[in-house]
Symmetry: C2
Subunit: 144 residues, 2 copies
DNA sequence: TTCTAGTTTAGAATAATTATAAATAAAGAA
DNA sequence: TTCTTTATTTATAATTATTCTAAACTAGAA
């Protein structure tokens, strides 16, 4: 999800209508690096469209995921799904302390998976998440 | 969780009592390779102890996790937590079709992560999950 | 402008998990 | 063994994230 038009086109192409609510969700997600959950997107959306419903957010996210425009991420110890508008394969860092999710630049580590078969499985995608303490939360390091 | 005594000792060492319910949960988990969720453990437990409560299962699992005797796993598209009594670092394969989780033998792939720092994060653990179709579900391959 | 099918909305329903508080039982001490 | 203390179990209520429902609404084609 790099730009609005790309998403709008894909929606229309698939017979989904473009509503102001959906357009605003798209705006929130395009180039968003924060890996928000539905509730967070709803909070931001509600600030701009007071009468919007949470169900609409879920509905839009589900379609976006189905169309492959966002990825769902889940994190051990966090019971809501986070969404990532960057669907290029990349890994994540999660801070156990402040609960941030951070992208790991693709070139940065572990040359990325490219097999399409493993133990007889036909592989579709791979999720890699590192759990740890982010630079901010490491202050006073020896505490944790 | 390779054997009962190991778990029983650790519980007592930490001041937790050993009840028949807990002992039975341990039995279900020791050497279990199926990555069960609470509900599944409860079903098996109930067959042996009809009056047991689901809350006891959750309570026991939470302590086991806190003591590092099992790991929680979560899977995109599956909203319950699965538990892995094998706490040696290893990766997972998940079948999108039949929802099985399978261990990837450690030697089998991707020499395992050993860094303890990445982008300023102090890393505690890493989760790697491959999503795909297992050998059984691949039959009639071109369907999916 | 009209029409229709898809969408939004509020609220109910569902599912996984945690919290509560009374009844019970483990395990150490007498 | 029995007593005592404190943790545990149980049933049930509460909570949280998400999905469902059905009536009201609207995008977009004709």
């Amino acid at each position: 999800m790099k730009n609005l038009n790309e998403v709008v086109d894909k929606f229309q192409e698939q017979g989904y209508k473009i509503t102001p609510q959906r357009r605003e969700v798209f705006n929130i997600l395009v180039n968003n690096k924060t890996h928000p959950k539905a509730e967070e997107i709803y909070a931001e959306l509600e600030a701009r469209m007071p009468d919007v419903s949470l169900a609409t957010v879920y509905n839009t996210l589900n379609i976006l995921e189905e169309l492959g425009m966002i990825d769902a991420i889940n994190i051990v110890g966090d019971d809501s799904v986070h969404y990532d508008p960057n669907t290029e394969p990349h890994d994540h860092l999660y801070c156990i302390c402040c609960h941030r999710i951070v992208d790991i630049p693709k070139d940065r580590h572990d040359p990325h998976f490219s097999e399409e078969e493993l133990l007889g499985f036909r592989i579709i995608k791979r999720h890699v998440t590192y759990y740890g303490y982010c630079p901010n939360c490491r202050e006073g390091e020896d505490i944790q």
